[in-house]
């Protein structure tokens, strides 16, 4: 069992984590026709927007209730109402994802009552779903905010769509999956003759594509019609431990069985996923994936020379830390230092002795006397990797200094292979240089 340590210090230095509202907004962006609305001061939205724009190199629809000092004292009800009405007028969203921030949570706005009275005052907007997530900045991280939003998405009532598809499977896609990862998962599931309903589906909205017209809201993702058919799914596949509560909600609401796949990279993890799909569909694993499996096995053989006994430090959110560290361990590498952002049950089951809930300063402290061959973290790790003179493999949020974050795929047999080649090449380069 892995020891989870929280250092006693009063200051976070070079923070690793991002806020819950940012994570929730990201999850909301996986729905079509969506406008996420931050209930907070305008800066909360501006920072999140700049962050996501830089990571995805896309225009990102986000909006704010623009709380001021006065409205914070008097309560934010009027701002929420004004904001929703303005959005309906200007952006014409099909859905609104409303989320709170540290400011409005500290203030203590009674969101349940506010939304209820909004509904009473505006019967004309009865068909506009407003999905609400409580996401104070002073708790959790991007991952937990994202998970909270997914729970809100699967809890909301969208009305019922009568068209039943008996082959539909709900996929709960965790925050560690990129749009490219989600695309790959959809492709795999579809190959078994199943119909994936992905929540949230970033592959439709943040994959980086051109539209003919300018979009004020998300141009792709899970549609309202799909949300209305949630009850028709025959099964739920939750990808990432943080998706378990949402899977449990679906199970309770619609009596749908589910399985949680805490990771989807590495031969064995992908095998398990495909085996489950084969059982659900009653179909054999398609030849395409049998082929890919053999390719991955070959890649493992070719690359294992470079991974063996390598010392690696990883600073990532819990789910991504889990997937990445097990995969590297299975290649013969040793994870000698790990830092993460927030608590999670999955942290107890990592292939290492201790994990620190902390920041990049904590990582630096771990590495000062224990040098590593590779650092894996977001772009903020660049300074540390330069200081320690070890290569940096960029993973997680944010990645500002690399192209292609939308399409990058690191799950499935294909994605695992890509990861092994990417990281293996970094090691190969080190050896050649020596």
């Amino acid at each position: 069992m892995t020891n989870v340590i929280t250092p006693k210090k009063s200051v976070a230095v070079n923070p690793l984590k991002q806020s819950q509202p940012l994570g929730a907004a990201l999850a909301f962006l996986g729905l079509k026709g969506m406008m996420p609305l931050f209930h907070g001061s305008q800066g909360c939205t501006a920072f999140a927007k700049v962050f996501l724009v830089r990571h995805f190199r896309e225009s990102i629809p986000l909006s704010t209730t623009a709380m001021t000092e006065v409205s914070t004292i008097l309560g934010g009800e009027e701002n929420i109402e004004q904001a929703i009405l303005a959005l309906v007028d200007k952006a014409k969203p099909e859905l609104i994802g409303l989320l709170t921030t540290g400011l409005t949570e500290t203030r203590g706005d009674d969101m349940g009552r506010i939304l209820k009275s909004f509904r009473t005052n505006h019967p004309e907007l009865v068909d506009l779903p407003i999905i609400f997530a409580s996401t104070p900045d002073y708790k959790g991280s991007l991952q937990s905010g994202y998970a909270t939003a997914v729970e809100a998405i699967v809890s909301a009532d969208y009305g019922v769509n009568s068209v039943a598809d008996s082959q539909q499977v709900t996929i709960l896609a965790g925050s560690f999956l990129s749009p490219g990862d989600v695309e790959e998962i959809k492709e795999i599931v579809t190959a078994f003759g199943l119909q994936p309903l992905v929540l949230p589906d970033l592959s439709g909205s943040l994959d980086g594509h051109l539209e003919d017209d300018y979009q004020t809201v998300t141009s792709g993702g899970t549609s309202l019609t799909q949300l209305q058919s949630l009850s028709n799914s025959l099964y739920t596949l939750a990808i990432g431990e943080s998706m378990s509560p949402a899977a449990a909600i679906l199970s309770e609401r619609f009596n749908t069985d589910y399985q949680v796949f805490p990771r989807l990279a590495g031969l064995e993890a992908v095998d398990q996923f495909l085996w489950k799909l084969s059982q659900l569909s009653g179909l054999a694993v398609p030849p395409k994936y049998l082929r890919q499996r053999r390719q991955l096995q070959d890649a493992i053989l070719d690359s294992h020379f470079y991974f063996g006994r390598k010392r690696i430090a990883i600073a990532l959110e819990p789910d991504l830390l889990y997937q990445t560290s097990w995969l590297l361990q299975s290649m013969g590498a040793e994870i000698t230092a790990a830092v993460t952002t927030t608590k999670s049950t999955i942290l107890e089951d990592l292939p290492l002795e201790t994990v620190v809930i902390g920041d990049l300063e904590d990582m630096e402290n771990l590495l000062v006397d224990n040098p590593v061959d590779l650092l894996i973290t977001n772009s903020q790790g660049k300074t540390l990797s330069e200081k320690l003179q070890c290569p940096l493999y960029r993973l997680g949020y944010p990645i500002f200094d690399r192209l292609g974050n939308n399409q990058r795929c690191l799950v499935g047999y294909r994605g695992t292979m890509q990861f092994l080649f990417d990281v293996g090449n970094l090691f190969l380069e080190l050896e050649v240089n020596h």
Partner: protein, 457 residues
Amino acid sequence: MKITSGKVNQLLTQSGCEHNHHHADGKGKNKACKQQAQPGLAQGGCAFDGASIALVPITDVAHLVHGPIACAGNSWGGRGSLSSGSKLYKMGFTTDVSENDIIFGGEKKLYKAIGEVAQRYQPKAVFVYSTCVTALIGDDLDAVCEAASKKFHLPVIPVNSPGFVGSKNLGNRLSGESLLEHVVGTAEPEYTTPYDINLIGEYNIAGELWNVLPLFEKLGIRVLAKITGDATYDEVCRAHRAKLNVMICSKALINMATAMGERYGIPYIEESFYGVADMNRCLRNIAAKLGDTALQDRVEKLIAEETTALDIALAPYRQRLQGKRMVLYTGGVKSWSIISAAQDLGIKVVATSTKKSTEEDKARIRKLLGEEGVMLEKGNAQEILRLINQTKADLLVAGGRNQYTALKARIPFLDINQERHHSYAGYTGMIEMAREIDEAIYSPIWEQVRKPAPWEV
């Protein structure tokens, strides 16, 4: 400093800011800047954002954000101010307050945090920023900073600029107040010269300052303090001994210029480093204000040299850019100073935003654009695209926020705001800008992304 409504009002009604002049009734009654953001529409930064933008470029101090993770975690390291010395300003420091801190108050944690930062990183000073949450729970920033300052024997500067008090611009000014109250005038320069100036409101984005500093050096003008691009803490402390404040491209810190005028008798002028005409005017005005005829002669000589060299360097670009049509979407002084820079290259500016422009700016724009030019009062992405179509523009020049508005519409784009990575200031900046515009317009990609697929024809 407490942020009372009186203080905020005073900052928003700065007499030096033309937003407050030219009142419609002609009575000269000051009207406050329209600062309030609109729910559901606004997407601009908050006061905390504004304070960080203005102060973080001070390179050898620790910038500590007292608040929950969003304020620092989502934003640190995001600005492109460059440093020729310390890299301490690039580090993210935050108290990352938790629910417990909110219930029991965050002052103790803040005090300890300052101590930990002081001990581990030996900064010249610590700037402590309040945020919405810590202001709301009533943490006394000034008291904690004062106590910590005594205990740890280093300047600890409170910056009272929680996001909810207003916009980015108000945050700029609030941060200026912190400098005025706690930093400027707290140390003396080793010596002074009759040619000491301060640059205020230039943040050395992409190293723009470094295009200009050599010019001052050549002329024998000493930049005593940069406020704040590539600045050290000590130089800001000594800024009160300058003979002239030069406000660059910004009304952001106008309160500093006026207050330093009142307190230390330093006059100020407003200048721009963009474009040949403005750069020339800037140097001439500084020389005139310093009142030295020999210096004025040196300025004329330098301008003659620089512009001659520039004409040669720009000739090929001018030829290729002649008659190209540009839509400009930016704010404040840049709304007109970039027009003059573009026209210098033979580019026709067909439309520009006047959203954040003052009446004086607008008059200048009208003169530069001519009667046909479109002045866009309000704007959003759709409006910009409509305008580009209507004017058949070849290029959009705007801030990074609108980058994808242009790219998604398959229109060449040039980033003019803070996230840019190229410096356009000074004479050398003109060459860089010409090169960038040329590259944007003549890139071979436009034909590919605009051409329909064979099966669509």
